[in-house]
Structure formats: C-alpha cells, structure tokens
C-alpha cells in the first residue's frame, strides 16, 4: 500500500517533506515535475550551500548553522557504465538522456554515478537546481591540482576556497576570472605560488592564506588592498611584521585594511621587540571603543565576531591619523584592527 503524497492537502505535503533529510528532498524533486514544484515551493532555512569540485566528484554540502556541513549528494564521474549494469534512472538535459545510478558510500552518503563525458552538463544542471531549491548563493571549494572544471561563470558567487599545493598562478587567475563578483577567498597550501601585483587575489575583500611561503607572502604584505587578511601557518620573521606595520603607519600599504590576523609558525615570536621599536599608545577610551565588531567577514578565526581590544596597543597612521589596534593574544597569533 502506498502513501499517496500528492493526495494530502498542501500543508500536510509540506510537513512531510520538511521532515525528510536534504538528500531525500533533493531526490524527491527528481521524481516528477509536479512534485518538484511542491518541493521547490518550500523554504529551507539553510545557512550555507557549498559545492566541492575535485577530479572525480562534484559534491553538494549544506549547513544549517554555518559551521557544520552535511553532504547532500556526490556526483561521481566514471569512465563508462558497463552494459550489463542495472539500477539506472535517466534524466533529460537539453536533448540528452543521461543515465545515472544511485549508490552509497560506506558512511551512507548518497552517490550518484554518471559518465564523465556529461560532467559539465550535470554540474550546470544540478548547481542550478540546488540554488533554486535551497535559495542560497553557493560557495565553492575547488581542488586546484586539477584544472578546475567549472560549468560556467558564477556571477552571484562570492566565496571560493582553493585547495591544493600544486598551484600555478594562471590556474588561480583562471578560477578567479570565473567569479566576477568574488569577495572572499581561501587558499590552502599555495606553498610556492607567486602572483603578479595586479592579481585579482590582492583586490578581494577578504582573503585567507594557509601555508604559503615567501613569493606570495611578499606580494600580499605589500599589495593587498582588501579589508580582511588572515595568514595561517606561515613563516613570518619579526622584521617582516615590523615592515608591514611601518608600511601601514606611513600610509604606503593596506589602504582599506580593517583586520589582519597572522598565525606564525615561528616560536617564540619576539613580539615585544617590535613594540619596543615602533611608537605605540595605550588604549584610550576617549579615542576608540574597547570592542570591535565585525559582521561581514567570512573565514574569521573565531565564531565570535567581537574583538576585545581593550588590552591592545594603538598605532596611528600618518596623514589621516587613523588608529589601529594591535594585540598578540599568544606568542603565535597577532591580530590587528584598523578602522578606528
């Protein structure tokens, strides 16, 4: 005996569908156009929608709290299906009837296998479907050793993570060029990457770089024009931090910088040495507030968006006399807030 879902009043259909997991909801929308219209009419209050692209897979993740992500489905691109295999279902994209097969990985994640030659079509179709379904602008995680397979330009996408230690500048620029309105990027393991001084990377609003070495670091510490910069696990000498601070105070670099966080791998990092050599002022509540709140920046180190700057020292920029507050919360972490 079946439970005829479409025979229920609409509000009950809605209750039933919203009691399903996201994978089931997505697959339900694939059953028929009529049911898809019901599924698409509902609101799913997601915090984030994320697409991950690597050599073999395109995976869709969702997060309801903005911190933990669950995989909804992975599209696994295989060379060819053998003729004697079954359990397929077909979908039509443009004039093509495409065979898909649903399976699960050992963790129970839904895997949809599809022939590699359909990759672009499948990605384009399902990226669009998930955006319509969940009404969220996606962020991308792209594994860069593979020259990225992007289905099209993503004019509404604001955040991209590029992961992979074999990163070439032209690959990075190619990826960036496909996201014309990109604001936030995270680069993981771009160890030997070097970019030109006119790279789009330097103009992003928010940039996180992990495990990078001198070529990129030098360019970033001289040419970054965005608002938020986070440098993690980097080998940064005392004199380099000092140069960066002097660059800001002399009004030569970082015209728009609001925050910078540096996690250096050098231990002990002689922070006091720098303080001895630059002119600082103690916190003065008549000049600036004790807390700095940040709401727009992605990839912040802590979920808490308030920095307590009451124990930090201030430096003043020449010309506009803008204040910056700098604190070293541990020997390995330096944070600075610049827009007071």
């Amino acid at each position: 005996m079946v439970v005829k879902l479409l025979n229920f009043p609409y509000l009950i259909q809605k209750e039933i569908i919203t009691n399903m997991d996201f994978t089931s909801i997505f697959l339900l929308a694939e059953c028929s156009r009529r049911l898809a219209s019901v599924v698409y009419s509902l609101k799913y209050n997601l915090a984030e929608l994320r697409y991950s692209l690597n050599r073999k897979e395109f995976t869709v993740h969702v997060s309801t709290d903005g911190e933990t992500f669950d995989a909804v489905v992975s599209f696994e691109f295989v060379k060819e299906f053998s003729d004697n295999e079954d359990d397929f279902f077909t979908i039509q994209i443009l004039d093509h009837l495409i065979k898909l097969r649903i399976t699960q990985d050992i963790e129970g994640k839904c895997i949809i296998q599809v022939c590699r030659r359909w990759r672009k079509l499948i990605q384009r179709q399902f990226q669009q479907e998930f955006q319509t379904l969940f009404r969220r602008v996606p962020e991308f995680v792209i594994y860069t050793p593979l020259r990225p397979i992007l289905a099209r330009n993503f004019s509404n996408c604001e955040s991209v993570t590029m992961d992979g230690n074999v990163v070439e500048a032209d690959v990075v620029e190619e990826i960036l060029s496909q996201f014309p309105n990109l604001k936030n990027a995270r680069l993981c393991w771009p160890t030997w990457l070097s970019v030109n001084a006119d790279s789009k990377l330097l103009k992003l609003d928010s940039l996180v770089v992990e495990f990078c070495k001198t070529p990129l670091l030098t360019v970033l510490l001289r040419g970054f024009t965005g608002s938020h910069l986070i440098l993690r696990n980097i080998h940064l000498e005392v004199f380099e931090v000092e140069e960066f601070i002097k660059g800001w105070t002399s009004n030569e670099t970082f015209p728009n910088l609001e925050t910078i966080q540096i996690f250096t791998s050098i231990y002990p990092f002689e922070w006091e040495e720098i303080l001895d050599r630059i002119q600082t002022q103690p916190f003065d509540s008549s000049k600036r507030p004790a807390f700095y709140s940040i709401s727009s920046q992605k990839y912040m180190d802590s979920a808490n968006s308030d920095f307590d700057c009451s124990n930090w020292v201030d430096i003043e920029r020449q010309g506009d006399r803008k204040l910056a507050s700098i604190g070293a919360s541990s020997k390995l972490k330096i944070t600075a807030v610049f827009n007071f």
């Binding site: 005996m1 079946v2 439970v3 005829k4 879902l5 479409l6 025979n7 229920f8 009043p9 509000l11 009950i12 209750e15 039933i16 569908i17 919203t18 009691n19 399903m20 997991d21 996201f22 089931s24 697959l27 339900l28 694939e30 059953c31 028929s32 156009r33 009529r34 049911l35 509902l42 609101k43 799913y44 209050n45 309801t64 359990d87 279902f89 649903i102 699960q104 129970g108 839904c110």
Partner: protein, 179 residues
Amino acid sequence: MSVEPEVPIVQVEEVRENPVLYKIISSDNHVFTISEHAVKLSKTLWDLITNLGLTAENALDNPIPVENVNGKNMETIVQFCERHKYDEEEPEYTNYIREFVLPEWDRQLLSIDNEELFQLILATNYLDIQKLMDYCCRVIGDMAKDKTPEELRIIYGIPTDAEDDALERSASDSPGPSG
C-alpha cells in the same frame, strides 16, 4: 509469616490530578473518554469544549461528536494525547528541517499500514494536534531514506510526468459541468 498491610493502589494520574473527563463520539459511534490535559493537545477539540461551555460538572453528560474521525483513529489519537499530556511545550523550530528523534513508544504506536496512516494524518490535521502531526510526518518522511527516485515514486504513489500530462489532457478534454 508477616502480613503486609493492605494499601490502596493509587494511579499516578490520580496523585497528579483529579481529572476532568470528556466524552468523544467517533464517526462510527465509538465512545472515548479523555482527560482535560490530554484533550488540550487538540486545538480543535479544546476550542469546541470552550465554545460549548463544557465544565467538570457537565462534561460527561455532553459527549462531543467528531464526525470526521473513525473509532480506530480516535483510539490512536486518545492514546497519543494521554501519553503526551504532560510533555513540556516544544521550542519553536528555527529550521524547516525538523531535528527531533521519534520516541520508540510513538514509533510503535504509528507502526500501522500506510492507508491507516494516511487516514490518521487527515484526522490529526482536522483535530489540529501538532505533535502527532510532526510524528506522523516523520514516519512518512523516514520512508524516503536511502531510496532512489524510482523507489520514491512507488512508495509515495507519484505519477510520472507522462502520467500527469495524460491526466491533464483528459481533464481538459472532458466537458465541463454544463456540457
């Protein structure tokens, strides 16, 4: 040999309350008794009781007819309401995807065939019992787990696009009420 003194067995419910009871008559004339706390879980029934002005004194003399719910479903509903009458109020859901675990007792109660479940949901909807509605919908929603679209189509009786199109054509071809 010691003789234990006879003590009256007191039901937990009697300790907690001296219940006001109401009588409900299902569409097939089965009569059910339900306590005040339990009947409050149904917004429809409680509104009816309030509007009829039923009190502790006259409640049992004035059974409430519920013509849209048969005896079998009413029995399940009364059991459910009695079981959950002292539950704390649920917090507001912040997300559309419901994050609760269906208790085992309720899963057993709702282990009925799909046609019965369908009718129970309609009855629950009519009586406006949110918690039972959530639980029933979870049972139906769970049927979708790990299924392919083809299996979902069978479980939920979903017509294919071609069947929907054919149905639509035949509906538009058939003469209207005047013709």
